[in-house]
C-alpha cells in the first residue's frame, strides 16, 4: 500500500506535531500496521479518516468506551475535529497501550508497545498481535479480503445507524465543551448506558468486557461518535446508544423514554428541584437547558412543546419530555411540530406510576403522584404502626392540649385514634402552622406520619391562602368526611359495630364551629376543609371502602385486646389522613399553578414597564 513507507515518517513527524513536540517513534511493523489501518479507514485521496470507520476500528479494539473517549481526546482528534494521520496513529498507539494495561496517557505510548489488537478483525491477525513487547518479526498478512468483508458487514450495520442520524457528520464545530455540561453528559452517558439491554446494542459503560455481538451496531454507534468529538463525546455516544436503544425498543419510537433515561431525567430533576412533586421554575430550567448548547430558538420550541400547561414551570413529566427532546435534537432528530404522544405528561405520569385511580380531573396527574406515594407510605405505615402505637399512645397523652375533643374523651383508646388523626391532619396544615407543628410532631416515632408530614409541608403556600380556600368548603363533602371520621372513630369507641352517628358528629361539629380560638383546632379544621373541597373522588372512595371493610372485622376483634383495636383505628386514621393529604396536595398544586400564572403576568408587566434595555 502506498501509504506504508510514506506514512511512517510522515506519521512520526505529524505525530510529533500533533502531540505538541512528542516524537513518536514507530517501528516498522507498527508503521505498516498503522498505515494499513489508516488506509482502511481513510481511503485515499482523503486526508482524514472517516469517523465511522475509525469508530468501527476503535470499537473492535474491545476497550471500554470511556477509554476510547479518552484516547480520542488525547490523540488530538477531538481538538482538531477529525482523524488525521497523526491523530490516528497516536490513537492506535494509545489503544495498544490501553490493551497492554498501561494507563491512557501520552507518556505511555513512548514505551515499546505491542500492536493494537482489534477483535473484530480476523482472528488470526489478532492472535498474531497478541504477543506483548514483540515488535519485530511479526509479519502481518492481514487477509485483506476478509478484513474488507468484515468492514463491509460492519459498515452496513453502521449505515443502518447512520441514516438515523444524518446530520451527525457535518456537525463539527470547534470543540469547546463546557465543563458544567460535560459533567451532565458524563453521568448522563452513564445513566443512559444502562439502557444496554439484551439486544444487540450498546455495551453498558460499567460492563468492562466487550463481546462480539456488540461490535456490529456499536461500531456504527461509535462511528458517528468521532464526528461529534467536538461535542461532548460521552454524551453523543450514549445518546447514540439511547437513540438506537430507543429505536430498537418499542417499535422504533425515538420519542419513547426508556426506564434508564427516565431514571436519569429524574435524577437531573432532583438536582434542580429536590421535591419530585413540585415544579422546576422557568429560569432554572432555562439555565439548565442552555447548557446543552442548542440554539435558543430550538430550546424555545422544545419548551413550547413540553410545557403543556403553559405555566412557565416544568413538572417532572414535562421535564422528562423536555430533556428527551433536547437529547433527541442533539442526536440530530428534527423536533416535531407537536408533542409526541409518548411524551405527553399524562402518558409519562401513567407510565411511571401505573396508578389505578380514575379521578379524571385536570389535576389527576399531579394528584396521582402524591397519592401513589402516599399509598406506598401507607403500606409501610401499616407494618410500622403496630409497634409504634404503643409508643405513640404514651407520647400522645402528653399532646392532649391540641385536641380539644380528645380531652373530653376518657378512654385512652379514643385519644389514640384522635391524636393520630389530629397528627396526620396537622401535617396537612399550611406552612406557618406546619412550622409550629413540626417540632412537636417530630417527637413521635411514627415514620409514616413523619413522611406524610414532610410531604404535606413541602409545597409552601402563603398563609392567607388557607383562609381563602377554607371559605370554599362545601357542605356536602363536609358531611361525607365527617361521616367517615365518625365511622372510623366509632369503631374504636364502641364495641357494637353499627356505628352511632350522633356522638361523633356533635363533637366534630363543635370543632367545625369553634373556628377562631385555638390554633390547633383551626389547623385541623382548615386542613379538613381544604381536604373536603378538593374534588377528588377516588381517595374518598378508597377511604369509604376501607372503613366499611374494617367494620365487619370489628365484631371479630371485639374479643381481642384494646391494643389491637387501637391499631385498627390507627390504620383507618392513617388512611383517612392520607386521603385528606392527597386532596390537599392536589389543591395546593392548583393554587401554586395559579400563583405561577399570576407571577408570570406580573413579570411580563414589569418587563414592559422597565426601560428598554433588554433589546
Amino acid at each position: 500500500m502506498e501509504q506504508g513507507p510514506a506514512g511512517g515518517p510522515a506519521a512520526a513527524t505529524t505525530a510529533a506535531a500533533g502531540t505538541g513536540g512528542l516524537l513518536l517513534p514507530l517501528s516498522e511493523s507498527e508503521q505498516q500496521r498503522y498505515s494499513e489501518l489508516f488506509s482502511r479507514c481513510c481511503p485515499p485521496p482523503e486526508v482524514a479518516a472517516g469517523g465511522s470507520s475509525v469508530g468501527e476500528l476503535f470499537r473492535a479494539s474491545q476497550l471500554p468506551p470511556d477509554t476510547l473517549h479518552q484516547i480520542t481526546e488525547l490523540c488530538g482528534a477531538k481538538r482538531v475535529g477529525y482523524f488525521g494521520p497523526a491523530q490516528f496513529y497516536i490513537a492506535l498507539k494509545l489503544i495498544a497501550a490501553a490493551q497492554s494495561g498501561f494507563p491512557v496517557r501520552i507518556e505511555s505510548i513512548k514505551n515499546e508497545l505491542p500492536l493494537p489488537r482489534f477483535m473484530a478483525l480476523k482472528n488470526d491477525s489478532e492472535a498474531r498481535y497478541g504477543t506483548p513487547a514483540e515488535l519485530h518479526g511479526v509479519k502481518f498478512q492481514v487477509p485483506h479480503a476478509t478484513l474488507e468483508k468484515n468492514s463491509y458487514k460492519r459498515t452496513d450495520e453502521g449505515d443502518k445507524q447512520e441514516p438515523k442520524s444524518p446530520p451527525m457528520s457535518p456537525i463539527c464545530s470547534p470543540p469547546a465543551s463546557p465543563s458544567t455540561y460535560q459533567r451532565i453528559p458524563l453521568s448522563y452517558g452513564y445513566g443512559k448506558s444502562r439502557s444496554g439491554l439484551e439486544q444487540q446494542h450498546g455495551a453498558p459503560y460499567e460492563v468492562r468486557h466487550s463481546t462480539h455481538q456488540q461490535d456490529g451496531p456499536s461500531s456504527g454507534n461509535y462511528g458517528a461518535k468521532p464526528a461529534l468529538t467536538c461535542s461532548t463525546p460521552n454524551r453523543s455516544l450514549s445518546a447514540e446508544r439511547e437513540q438506537q436503544d430507543s429505536s430498537t425498543h418499542y417499535s422504533d419510537d425515538p420519542w419513547r423514554i426508556t426506564e434508564e433515561q427516565r431514571d436519569y431525567y429524574i435524577n437531573q430533576f432532583r438536582s434542580l428541584q429536590p421535591d419530585l412533586n413540585s415544579f422546576v421554575s422557568g429560569s432554572v430550567a432555562k439555565n439548565f437547558f442552555t447548557k446543552s448548547k442548542l440554539p435558543i430558538p430550538e430550546l424555545s420550541h422544545i419548551w413550547e412543546l413540553s410545557d403543556v400547561d403553559c405555566d412557565g414551570a416544568l413538572t417532572l413529566p414535562e421535564f422528562c419530555a423536555a430533556f428527551h427532546l433536547v437529547v433527541a435534537r442533539k442526536n440530530g432528530y428534527q423536533l416535531p411540530e407537536t408533542l409526541p404522544e409518548t411524551l405527553l405528561p399524562q402518558y409519562l405520569q401513567a407510565a411511571s406510576l401505573k396508578p389505578t385511580r380514575d379521578c379524571a380531573l385536570f389535576d389527576s396527574y399531579s394528584e396521582s403522584l402524591p397519592g401513589g406515594q402516599q399509598t406506598r407510605d401507607f403500606s409501610r405505615s401499616e407494618k410500622t404502626s403496630a409497634e409504634e402505637v404503643a409508643d405513640n399512645s404514651a407520647l400522645l397523652q402528653e399532646g392532649k392540649k391540641d385536641d380539644k375533643e380528645a380531652v373530653k374523651v376518657s378512654t385512652a383508646l379514643k385519644t389514640i385514634p384522635k391524636e393520630f388523626q389530629h397528627l396526620t391532619v396537622k401535617t396537612a396544615a399550611q406552612e406557618s402552622n406546619a412550622l409550629k407543628a413540626r417540632p412537636r410532631s417530630r417527637s413521635y416515632s411514627s415514620t409514616s406520619i413523619e413522611d406524610a408530614m414532610k410531604k404535606g409541608e413541602e409545597p409552601p403556600t402563603p398563609p392567607p391562602r388557607p383562609q381563602k380556600s377554607h371559605s370554599r368548603a362545601s357542605s356536602l363533602d363536609l358531611n361525607k368526611i365527617f361521616q367517615q371520621n365518625t365511622q372510623a372513630v366509632r369503631s374504636g369507641w364502641l364495641p357494637p359495630p353499627p356505628p352511632a352517628l350522633p356522638p361523633r358528629p356533635s363533637v366534630s361539629q363543635e370543632v367545625v364551629l369553634a373556628q377562631p380560638p385555638s390554633k390547633p383546632t383551626r389547623r385541623k379544621l382548615r386542613a379538613e376543609a381544604q381536604g373536603l373541597e378538593t374534588p377528588e373522588l377516588s381517595p374518598t372512595i378508597n377511604v369509604t371502602s376501607s372503613t366499611p371493610a374494617v367494620k365487619p372485622h370489628l365484631p371479630v376483634q371485639k374479643q381481642s385486646s384494646k391494643q389491637k383495636r387501637a391499631i385498627q383505628t390507627a390504620i383507618r386514621k392513617n388512611k383517612e389522613a392520607n386521603a385528606v393529604l392527597a386532596r390537599l396536595n392536589s389543591e395546593l398544586q392548583q393554587q401554586l399553578k395559579e400563583v405561577h400564572k399570576e407571577r408570570i403576568a406580573l413579570e411580563t408587566q414589569l418587563e414592559q414597564l422597565r426601560p428598554v434595555t433588554v433589546l
Partner: protein, 139 residues
C-alpha cells in the same frame, strides 16, 4: 377570519405581523401602522384615572372601504391589531372578541417560555398555528 394580524410592542414596534398572502402585503403593514395612532387615542381618551377599568378590547378602530381594523390592548401596553375584510359581514363583535382573547392567551403562553425575551420578535410555532387558524383561507 382576519386578513392581517399584528402584535405590537409597547414601544410601537411590531413583534409579530402576519397577513394573508396577497399581492400587496405592504398596505396591511401600513394600515396597522396608522391604526396605532387610533389605539393611542383611545387609550389616552380613557384618562389617567380609569386605567384599571379600561377594557382591553378597543373595538373597531376605523373602517376603510375594504377593511375594518380592530384593536386590543393588554395591560402591559401590548397591542393586538386585526384587519378584517369588510365584505365579511358575518363576523360579529363577539367573534372578534374571542379571537383577541385567543391571541392574548397565546401571547401569555409565549411569555411563559423562559427562552423568550420580552421584546423579541415572536417565532413560536404554536403562536403561528393559532394565528393561521384565524386567518382567512385564501386558496
Amino acid at each position: 377570519m382576519a386578513v392581517c394580524i399584528a402584535v405590537i410592542a409597547k414601544e410601537n414596534y411590531p413583534l409579530y405581523i402576519r397577513s394573508v398572502p396577497t399581492e400587496n402585503e405592504l398596505k396591511f403593514h401600513y394600515t396597522v401602522h396608522t391604526s396605532l395612532d387610533v389605539v393611542d387615542e383611545k387609550i389616552s381618551a380613557m384618562g389617567k384615572a380609569l386605567v384599571d377599568q379600561r377594557e382591553l378590547y378597543l373595538g373597531l378602530l376605523y373602517p376603510t372601504e375594504d377593511y375594518k381594523v380592530y384593536g386590543y390592548v393588554t395591560n402591559s401596553r401590548v397591542k393586538f391589531v386585526m384587519v378584517v375584510d369588510s365584505s365579511n359581514t358575518a363576523l360579529r363583535d363577539n367573534e372578534i372578541r374571542s379571537m383577541f382573547r385567543k391571541l392574548h392567551n397565546s401571547y401569555t403562553d409565549i411569555m411563559c417560555n423562559p427562552f423568550y425575551n420580552p421584546g423579541d420578535r415572536i417565532h413560536s410555532r404554536a403562536f403561528d398555528n393559532m394565528v393561521n387558524s384565524m386567518m382567512m383561507q385564501v386558496c
